[in-house]
């Protein structure tokens, strides 16, 4: 048997999903955006929803997500992605609509849009990448920056007396009646990647089933702006980020329908 005999479509055990384009990603080596993009793309292909999925890119490192995902996409103003997703889903209810947002986008400038899209129970999916720092603008303090963590705008470490506390926004969102699924995942190890992919699939299915808003938070790192190697970043993330942002499901309950509620 030669090598050429083996290279046949029926023997293929793994390939790049067609929902990822061939564009070269701009992400830093070690960054988890690439893995998360790939997982979302794979799930879209496996669920057969490429033609009816509309994605929203944020302002932040993943602003160019639309160059890598081969689906129709819109680029939102900073923080406004959940408002965009709301309108698309309301105007075209047969579509599967998701946002892809970072911590600054979702938990600082876009807090109102995030909370109110969730409160309306929009049947959308919110993918939330939390690395505790602003990556694209060069490593400034994020709402999720840990206590004492050094960034370009808190170079002596985040002093909670001055800058407040790391915002556990997913814990806040799980309390809102319109959300149906809030989970915190990571993609730094194979087992985590497998779990994260299941969470992505569940979130899309919830949207199709009209169960409410699903939030998949990915606790991530930013080795460039954390000024560490990727390996060091992963270890630091496990020790410090996971302590503040523990992995696992925070909520898995469909939103109540109006006819199930004892209303006025």
């Amino acid at each position: 048997m030669t090598k050429q005999d083996i290279i046949k479509p029926e023997n293929l055990v793994y390939g790049k999903t067609k929902v990822l384009t061939d564009n070269i990603m701009h992400y830093c080596p070690g960054c988890s955006h690439g893995v998360i993009h790939k997982l979302i793309a794979e799930v879209i292909e496996e669920m057969g929803i490429q033609e009816k999925t509309i994605g929203i890119a944020p302002v932040g490192c993943s602003v160019f997500a639309y160059n890598y995902l081969d689906i129709d996409m819109q680029e939102a103003a900073h923080g406004r992605a959940p408002a965009l997703a709301t309108a698309i889903k309301r105007l075209m209810p047969d579509k599967v609509v998701f946002t892809y947002q970072g911590d600054g986008d979702l938990a600082a400038i876009g807090t109102a849009e995030t909370i109110h899209a969730c409160n309306r129970g929009e049947n959308i999916v919110i993918f939330f990448v939390n690395n505790g720092i602003y990556g694209m603008t060069g490593g400034q303090m994020a709402p999720t920056t840990l206590e004492g963590m050094k960034t370009a705008t808190c170079p002596y470490g985040r002093n909670t007396d001055m800058y407040g506390f790391p915002l556990r926004i997913s814990d806040l969102l799980k309390e809102i009646d319109g959300t149906c699924y809030v989970t915190r995942q990571s993609v730094h190890k194979t087992a985590n990647i497998v779990r994260a992919k299941k969470a992505i699939r569940k979130a899309f299915q919830n949207s199709i089933d009209g169960k409410g808003t699903s939030i998949v938070e990915f606790v991530s790192h930013c080795n460039t702006n954390w000024k560490m190697t990727p390996v060091q970043s992963n270890a630091w993330m496990e020790e410090h980020m996971f302590a503040k942002y523990p992995l696992g499901d925070l909520k898995d309950t469909p939103k109540k329908r109006f006819d199930e509620i004892n209303h006025l």
Partner: protein, 358 residues
């Protein structure tokens, strides 16, 4: 037989929206335009036409919903009043940059700041010169009657889709709140998804049998961004060439011209009546489009009249465009009231006499 109704400008706008085949309204309450969303909610168009009506958490969110809906090729709109429209400026800049068709209504009230809930025209600069960041223009329509509050919905959508550009209806608290007779336009069906895709092949309607569509206003390379700007500017020149609209009132024999839009134009028509009773030959030029501005018409009038008088409910904003058009060849005066006070016809005529006729 045509159906004549008596209603407020805000209500007429809402009825016309449903009848125009609008797909979605996204708004936030603010005086003096809250009747728009109230009327829409009462009409329940989602049951009849499938139109979406949604009260957003803020003006910011509402305009971004409009961005997304327009990016799907849908006929979408929002309405607000001055402080709320200020909040929408970020979104409007993005909409203009991404070249998305939509309709925005501003029922102006007095500012700056929280200001007053009484009528004003002090958002002329913001509307016509581009209130958000970057070089862009909206097409700006200025209704002066309740009938035009209804009629400009269809016209607005026609222009918005023709040029892939946001259209602003610049109304004010007088037009929004007053009741007048109106003939509502006939019902148009909402476009089917197939019709939307055919009309807007660029829209994010789902990647079916074509490369993926992307709606964005981002271009990090300067050359690409300059090319985008050049394309936008070429479009604005085309709009200036083709879409100027105005009303002439007793201009044929006029020696003096009131230039006024919206409510102020109505006052000026009354002032013309008083002036002509005294033997002063005055007419009114009422710009219907504020962008594009009737510059050529004013230039033509400047060759045969003795002077112009801009009457506005502001500290003098449109008068700058009148002066640019006249370019020093004839005197241009200004009279305005602010803070929600409406100038009277007597005041307008007195200002013409003291500033221009002398």
């Amino acid at each position: 037989m045509e159906e004549i109704k008596l209603m407020k400008g805000n209500e007429a706008f809402a009825h016309a929206a449903v009848r125009s085949g609008c797909d979605g309204y996204f708004g936030y309450p603010i005086t003096p335009q809250s009747e728009v969303m109230e009327t829409l909610q009462e009409l329940k168009p989602w049951e009849e036409t499938g139109m979406v009506v949604l009260q957003a958490e803020s003006e910011v969110s509402a305009i971004n919903m409009v961005y997304a809906g327009a990016a799907c090729g849908k006929k979408v709109m929002t309405s607000s009043s001055s402080p709320g429209v200020s909040l929408k400026q970020e979104g409007i800049s993005y909409i203009a940059a991404a070249e998305l068709p939509c309709l925005i209504l501003n029922v102006m009230r007095g500012g700056p700041g929280l200001g007053t809930i009484q009528p004003s025209q002090a958002d002329y600069f913001q509307s016509v010169k581009g209130g958000g960041h970057g070089d862009y223009h909206m097409i700006v329509l200025a209704p002066s009657t309740v009938q035009e509050m209804a009629d400009f919905v269809d016209l607005g959508y026609e222009l918005a889709f023709k040029y892939r550009n946001p259209v602003l209806m610049l109304s004010d608290g007088v037009i929004g709140q007053m009741m007048e007779k109106v003939v509502l336009p006939p019902y148009k069906p909402r476009r089917t998804m197939e019709e939307v895709i055919a009309q807007c092949p660029w829209a994010t309607t789902g990647k079916v049998g074509r490369p993926h569509n992307i709606i964005t206003s981002l271009a990090l390379e300067s050359e690409v961004m300059e090319a985008t700007n050049n394309r936008l500017q070429a479009k604005y020149r085309e709009i200036e060439e083709n879409e100027v609209r105005f009303e002439e009132y007793m201009l044929d024999d006029a020696e003096y011209v009131f230039v006024a839009f919206g409510s102020s134009a109505r006052i000026c028509k009354q002032a013309v009546e008083y002036a002509r009773a005294e033997g002063i030959k005055v007419g009114v030029l009422r710009p219907i489009t504020l962008f594009p501005f009737p510059t050529k018409k004013i230039q033509e009038l400047a060759t045969r009249v003795k002077g112009f008088m801009s009457i506005e409910m502001s500290a003098g904003q449109m008068v700058e465009d009148v002066r640019l058009a006249v370019n020093g060849t004839k005197p241009v005066g200004f009279y305005g009231r602010q803070g929600g006070i409406i100038p009277s016809a007597e005041e307008a005529l007195e200002a013409l006499k003291t500033q221009i006729i002398k």
